[in-house]
Symmetry: C2
Subunit: 218 residues, 2 copies
């Protein structure tokens, strides 16, 4: 079983989707720990509830490289093979990206390369697009620019508000982030330059289009 | 009935989709003329076959502004109210864009703002996206940046080749360009800043997902 760390700063909804995907057997992987830079983040609560170790890493006063080192030490201590960045709001450095080359995904709530940056949902809405979406990509040094593993389109329909659009974006994340991890865990991905070839496709998780089990009571 | 000119440089497949949409009554508009800068372009043949006037405008030696003026004169002579740019491969100038402000659409084979420019299908493929698509936008001075009227996503699936991807992109064009024109012709669009609000949605043309009638025998 692939040993996975999740890196998150927020409420941990994508951690929950990944955890549900592993716990249900959809993905043959174990989320060994959650690492966060926010002591009061919802993700630590979710991790505790799921019986997953939560690790708080205090960023204060650390350089990017020092942070990188701490993360990599945590990974080494736990024999982590793969990292899922899930709403981790800091930029990682060259040592981290090099060490985790080809072994870390990030989720970005737009169809990259459109709307890279910190506010993709708002930016897409303000630009007036009719179709945006979600991307899962390999983590590379260049922010939001790694090879794309999966994308899913989300349409803005005439009756959408920003809130309903945002909700659809998150549902797309909960569908394709677990799917991307499943593809990796099953060895179904091959990277050629900046293209990720999917050698055998897999089904969506059963909850695709709605909330994964662990988010239904929120 | 809205009096429409189509501007094209190529094979005229999008002209054909628009013409089929008008002829079948799906769009309450008449394509009065096709204007092209290529005397041997397929679009002139298609126009002749459909009984639509074809106009060849020789660009040689003309400045952008002189071209603009010629187009606008042709429009005026024919009481053209709206222009559909459909693979017209030259940049129009400020006088044209100003005169046709809010009265001209362009089709671009990517989900703008991603992959603006001259080779969007190739660029998206090379970048390794998993989802691209098609955009219909108002023509403005800034190239490929006008307010978005409609977009449609096109997925790259594991078995796609560049050619099959390109074919799906074109099918999406044939579906949403007529639909965008129908929305305009029915007064269903309202522009607020760079957002186009669709006040009442309309159905896709019946051929959406496959070829319009005039392209089936190609």
């Amino acid at each position: 079983m692939l040993r996975v760390a999740v890196l998150a700063s927020g409420n941990g909804t994508n951690f929950q989707a990944l955890q549900d995907a592993c716990a249900s057997g959809y993905v043959d992987a174990e989320i060994v720990c959650v690492i966060t830079n926010k002591q009061d983040s919802g993700v630590l609560e979710r991790a505790a509830k799921a019986g997953v170790e939560g690790v708080f890493v205090d960023h204060k006063g650390l350089t990017r490289e020092q942070r990188d080192e701490i993360f990599l030490e945590h990974y080494e201590q736990r024999a982590i093979e793969f990292a899922c960045h899930a709403g981790y709001m800091r930029i990682l450095g060259r040592p981290y990206c090099k060490a985790m080359d080809g072994r870390a995904f990030n989720v970005h709530p737009s169809l990259l390369p459109a709307f890279a940056g910190a506010h993709p949902i708002e930016d897409a809405w303000e630009w007036g697009v009719k179709t945006s979406g979600v991307s899962i990509h390999f983590v590379t040094e260049e922010l939001d620019a790694g090879p794309i593993v999966l994308q899913r389109a989300v349409d803005i329909t005439p009756d959408d508000t920003f809130e309903s659009f945002e909700r659809k974006i998150h549902l797309a994340e909960y569908a394709i982030y677990p799917k991307a991890l499943k593809l990796f865990a099953e060895g179904a991905l091959r990277t050629e330059g900046r293209k990720v070839l999917i050698e055998r496709d897999v089904a969506d998780p059963v909850w695709a289009g709605s909330l994964p089990p662990g988010l239904r009571d929120d």
